[in-house]
Amino acid sequence: MRRGNIIKLVALVLLVAAAVALSIKPLVDPGKGIPLGLDLRGGVHLVLQAEPNKNGAAITRDDIDKAKAIIEKRVNDLGVSEPIVQSDYDKKRIVIDLAGVTDPDKAVDILKTTAKLTFRDPQGNVVIQGDDLKDAKGGQGQNGGYVVNLSFSTTGAQKFADLTTKLIGQRLGVYLDDKLLTNPTVNTPILNGQAEITGYGTLEEAANHAVLMRSGSLPVSMTIAEKRQVGASLGVDSLNKSIYAGAYGLIFIFGFMLVFYRLPGVVADFSLIVYSLIVLWVFWMFRVVLTLPGIAGFILSIGMAVDFNIIIYERVKEEIRAGKSLRAGVESGFSRAFITVIDAHVTTLIAAVTLYYFGTGSIKGFALTLGVGILASLFTAITFTRLVLRWTVGISPKMNTTWFGVRRDDV
């Protein structure tokens, strides 16, 4: 019994050490590791709010979907590694997270131009909506000079064909919201949906107009309701600081547990390592984006995971004082402490879930880390801590109870 348990414990210690050593690389890998939020590596968070249509028409789910698809395309052109574009149908919003974008100003510049593009006849009537335009590109024209090449969707091509047939020799207005962008003259009917606006002096001018027309193809106008921008070096700075804070917090908690609980303190410290590994791997698996409040939530949850150990050990001490043997004390102390902890953790979990449900942005991240932390601490305590404690007290039935912090004269 005795030697077997020691071997098992040593094997477990080695196993945990190996797990830690093997986990570090995949977890912190910049590409595939735990994704870092923009406050930890710089980037932009944008909330675009769809403005009500001027003619009073309701904004439909379809409008939001279309707008989202277009924004996604533009975001992908930026070359950000893990962009997040989410739509909120109820509030008619699109949320964009670009963590790690190198030039946030430029990104905002490209995304912000969200005015509604329309083509109008000389009388000012809207004849084609921007969402019929598939693409617009700046380039060099066949007869020299610079041009914007337009390509229309199937329905757009049809409309454009009708329109250009009707308006030969007249001017076609291209508007962004109510601002005239350009008004080229229609030279020939364009039937295939591929048009060319000529007469630009420079390539840059043509490209700019192309960007505006592309961006203008959103079915609704959108404004920036919220913007959070963090410079890259600032993010790295925050990340380093919170890693320092976490490391020192852990070291002090480890020391505290060792001093106050001795042998079980060692078990608690080991449980904490296992707990941290579980939480981090859960983050990794579900691609939980780690933010600054999220890290704070994680560090706090370490404090709460220790609580479980403290409750168990205090209870075990009481059971031993009440005359039980060490092993019986551990067993009954564990099951009794478990009832206590379940009630306490469920109430905290209620707070975390409510927070997650109602919270936005960084609050959601915080609630998630807290919730994952609570569940992981329950899991670690039931499986790992209990097993290790059993093995430890199984080493010798005559094990000195002072190792558990119970004085002989107490008993």
Binding site: A225, S242, G246, P293, A296, G297, G303, D343, T354, S362
Partner: protein
């Protein structure tokens, strides 16, 4: 070795070298809490909270200039583009925090351009910018309020099922106490409140009720063993002391974690961790000194009125 039995009240008293009767002094604890809470409430009514742009809406720019700059240079430049708002300098006059109305992109670029040309070069990689439209701020407040209310309702429900209604009410009062302590102190000292403050308050919420439930669990356990002539007061005092080591050790570990975030976590999490430090401390205090004592008061009062009813019937 004596034969084993569950610890008696006297034994519990003996184990703790610093034992004193917490229950008998309960009105003192109530007074201490009121001394902290009442100025906070008055301040809340008089000056309210120092709401950041997350709630009010606005633009906040955190810039680091390559050389030392002056407050006047910044405000003058802001005026030149038609803007005003509070400016804070730190880090020996190189870090500048500008708060102003919610800026459109064009206006924002105009301001940054003017600052660059008139005040000096700034580090673009360490620029931090927050813009919150006014509608978003209202939404945040509303959501936070609902989250608190619903969480409270659910907690009352859960504790009533697992314990009793009187436990739930006492727990919630202790909880509101902690929230008031944090919000009150933030109002009193006019520390800025942002969206992470809401997260801090909700954590305090979770922590405080967690801490209280641990003690309630012991009261529930001891209440079951209570004999007819045993004093409820002594039982509560015993329960509080039986869980004392745990209460103190746990709050110490959590405070260790929070202190390390507070000291090492950098400027952006400082007020967030401060709110949690105050809240967790208050949560531990209220679990020991407020929640169980209020439970006792409720128990004594409901018992008295029941006895009174019997007396009337007897006469």
């Amino acid at each position: 070795m004596k034969t084993g039995h569950p610890a008696t009240y006297d034994e519990v008293k003996k184990i703790h070298p610093l034992y004193f009767n917490i229950v008998k002094k309960r009105y003192w604890w109530f007074v201490i809490s009121l001394i902290v809470v009442i100025p906070g409430i008055i301040s809340l009514f008089m000056q309210g909270l120092n709401l950041g742009i997350d709630f009010k809406g606005g633009t906040m720019l955190d810039m680091t200039f390559n050389k030392q700059v002056s407050q006047a240079a910044i405000t003058d430049t802001m005026k030149s583009v038609g803007l005003e708002g509070p400016v804070q300098l730190s880090n020996g006059g190189t870090s500048v925090l500008i708060r102003t109305e919610a800026l459109e992109e064009a206006k924002r670029n105009e301001l940054l351009g003017a600052l660059q040309s008139k005040v000096g070069e700034y580090n673009k990689a360490s620029l931090k910018e927050d813009k919150v439209g006014p509608a978003m701020g209202q939404e945040l407040t509303r959501n936070a309020f609902w989250a608190l209310l619903i969480a409270m309702g659910l907690m009352i429900g859960y504790i009533t099922i697992r314990f009793q209604f009187s436990f739930a009410i006492s727990g919630i009062i202790a909880l509101l106490h902690d929230v008031l302590v944090v919000v009150g102190l933030f109002s009193l000292f006019q520390w800025e409140v942002d969206s992470t403050f809401v997260a801090a308050i909700l954590t305090v919420f979770g922590y405080s009720i967690n801490d209280t439930v641990i003690i309630f669990d012991r009261i529930r356990e001891n209440e079951g063993k209570l004999k007819r002539l045993d004093s409820y007061e002594d039982m509560v005092d015993k329960s509080v002391w039986q869980t004392m080591r745990r209460s103190i050790n746990t709050v110490i570990t959590v405070l260790i974690a929070l202190f390390s975030i507070f000291i090492l976590g950098g400027e952006s999490t400082r007020l967030f961790s401060l709110a949690m430090l105050i809240g967790v401390f208050s949560g531990a205090y209220s679990s020991i000194f407020i929640a169980s004592q209020i439970l006792l008061e409720i128990k004594i009062r409901t018992k008295k009125s029941r006895k009174g009813g019997k007396a009337v019937r007897a006469s």
